[in-house]
């Protein structure tokens, strides 16, 4: 048998049929559902009088529209409220598992899946959300789908797909002290570009990757979509298995042993061939900050904002100039001289307990700069929030001048009331710095939680490695 990549193995286990024209039907194990991309799918099902194929595969949660403040009032925006109520109705009608608002398990869909053990190694995981790539951290084949495909999975438990190519990104060696998964993934995107992974599933390997916690691996895989890849994967090791043990949806007893035995086979064969290989030297990675309107527009903290005049490709140079104009930045500005208005620590990229600990370690005993209009922390789930409060992290943030909010997607995409006003500049731990993403005219700089926390204290970007950290 020819050597297989991890992607090849998971794919093979799920291929239901293959037609002569190369079209394949892939079986889906876990279907995560949220309020934004599912209503039209449920409606389509109803119109066609179709049943849900496997209700057990579904875990639903409202996250994009939920307010992060004043929950006792419910959702005041009637349009948002209707969308969440529609999800509730659909889940009630079909008797699907849903963590409704007010349930401590409610949170961002990509936080709660792993937290519950609903994402397991070797699974295929889909959700009507591009950041479904997050779950690849568990050696699960996980990717975002559109609403028509949500309906397709609801009705058939399968998707019609073409297989992607295999790409491997090796991060050689260990990262320096103070460098996080966010810095690693931003650096990778800077290197290969936002379309660098198009048509591929990327497997991340190397010492720097193996050293990451599951939280770090989720941050890494979460942003694989920002490199254009269909999915990201990290193989299953002891870190994965230890994380999963005892979680509510994880197997127990004899099934646990059987599962672990299988999961331990979930890695690429030593001689597997990848269509594309990229190597990154871990030691060269510094804290990363995006300067533009695409995640590939990224520099390290000790660099200057680039100059479009130095780019020879006309289209790229034009794109850089557009980005500088939108961001209100001059070419060659030192990164450390970029001043912020707001700070957002949250999102499916960076709102797990480890992220909050890292930010709190920077913030402890310090105050948010007077020039910062708003600094907010939005935990990824009710359980993350509870854990953080048990550890006293909430007090650290509040004493420093941060707002401590309720879980949800919040200002990552500003579908609720949390947003940037035109011209406001934000250090954000989220995943997209697109024009208008965090609010029309808003300017987003993507960074790690520790870098966002440091920027909150100083009012501008600083190299977090130079600060004393209280951890």
């Amino acid at each position: 048998m020819t050597a297989q990549t991890l992607y090849d193995k998971i794919w093979a286990m799920h291929e239901v049929r293959r037609d002569d024209d190369g079209t394949r039907l892939l079986y889906i194990d876990r279907h995560l559902v949220h309020e934004v991309t599912s209503p039209q799918a449920f409606e389509g099902l109803k119109i066609a009088n179709r049943q849900i194929w496997r209700k057990k595969s579904i875990l639903a949660v409202p996250d994009h529209n939920v307010p992060t403040i004043g929950l006792e009032k419910g959702i005041t925006d009637p349009v948002s409220r209707l969308q969440v109520e529609t999800l509730n109705q659909n889940c009630d009608e079909h008797q699907l598992v849903e963590f409704k608002m007010g349930d401590i398990r409610q949170g961002i869909v990509h936080i709660i899946g792993p937290e519950q053990g609903a994402t397991l190694p070797g699974m295929t995981v889909v959700c009507g959300d591009s950041h479904t790539t997050t779950h690849g951290a568990f050696a699960a084949l996980a990717f975002g789908i559109g609403t028509s495909e949500v309906e397709h999975v609801l009705a058939t438990q399968c998707l019609i797909l073409n297989k992607s190519k295999n790409m491997r990104v090796t991060v050689d060696g260990a990262v320096a002290e103070g460098i996080t998964a966010k810095d690693i993934v931003l650096r990778i995107i800077g290197e290969i570009g936002t379309a660098g992974g198009t048509g591929h599933t990327i497997e991340f390997v190397g010492e720097a990757i193996s050293n990451l916690s599951m939280e770090g691996r989720m941050t890494l895989c979460n942003m694989t979509i920002e490199a254009g890849a269909r999915a990201g994967l990290v193989d299953c090791d002891q870190t994965t298995i230890d994380y999963l043990k005892g979680r509510p949806f994880a197997p127990t007893g004899e099934n646990w042993d059987k599962a672990v035995a299988y999961w331990q086979t979930l890695h690429s064969d030593a001689d597997a061939i990848f269509d594309r290989e990229v190597h990154i030297d871990a030691a060269s990675i510094e804290p990363q900050v995006t300067w533009g309107t695409s995640p590939e527009m990224v520099i390290s903290i000790n660099e200057n904002v680039p100059d479009p005049a130095s780019e020879t490709d006309r289209i790229k140079s034009g794109g850089m100039q557009n980005a500088l104009d939108y961001m209100g930045l001059a070419a060659n500005t030192p990164c450390k001289e970029v001043f912020l208005d707001k700070i957002f620590i949250g999102s499916c990229t960076n709102s797990r307990i480890e992220d909050l600990r890292a930010a709190a370690a920077v913030v402890k005993g310090r105050k948010v700069a007077d020039t910062i209009k708003l600094a907010m922390v939005v935990p990824g789930s009710g359980l993350v929030k509870q854990q953080a409060e048990t550890e006293g992290l909430d007090s650290i943030f509040i004493e420093a001048g941060f707002e401590w909010r309720e879980p949800g997607c919040s200002m990552c995409l500003a579908m609720n009331d949390d947003r940037l006003e035109p011209g406001e500049r934000c250090a954000s731990t989220s995943n997209r710095n697109f024009e208008g993403r965090q609010g029309k005219g808003g300017r987003s700089h993507l960074v790690s939680p520790a870098m966002a926390a440091a920027a909150a204290i100083y009012g501008h970007f600083v190299d977090v490695r130079l600060l004393d950290r209280n951890n």
Binding site: Y27, Q83, G144, S148, C158, G199, R437, K440
Partner: protein, 210 residues
Amino acid sequence: MEKFKKFSGIVAAIDRPNVDTDAIIPKQYLKSIKRTGFGVNLFDDWRYLDPGAPGESNAERRINPDFVLNKTPYDHAQILLGRENFACGSSREHAVWALMEFGFKVVIAPSFADIFYNNSFKNGLLPIVLSPTLVDQLFAELEQQQDYRLDVDLENQLVTNAVGFEMPFEIEDFRKYCLLNGFDDIELTMQHADHIKAFEAQYYKKFPWL
């Protein structure tokens, strides 16, 4: 889904790489629980000078006179010409719904983001990948001629300009078959229901914890 037929349409161009789905249809409009109503908010941040909100009329909003889709004849364009990595970002199918409701039937670019590319076919929008050189050529021709048109022939996989220059494009057989016939994917997959059940029987025996 409507059958995709051969047509000739006005081409509008957006000359920037990495046009993302947040630009195509901003997040506030995703609050709708319907599949329709997105066309008026296509490229909302670029198209209007005032902010907009879902469910509110756009009649009072000042339009951006410089934005291509606000100019004649591009306000009834059916073909959109874009650059690399078109429609990257979020999985929102609303981006496809908005483009189609505006009147677009085809998007031509050197590359597309995967999820958007998939979503397009599910709705009858045809994304066509042409080489960067050909796309450059189309941009240049469009600059010369205001009511620039292209013919799109899916059956023969050809894009043809006014002087008869033919640009062949690739498309997977299954996708082409579905578009030409207006077939619904789910219906096709349901024909394999027994196959899926047989798969499940052996699958859950092997992985009893799932």
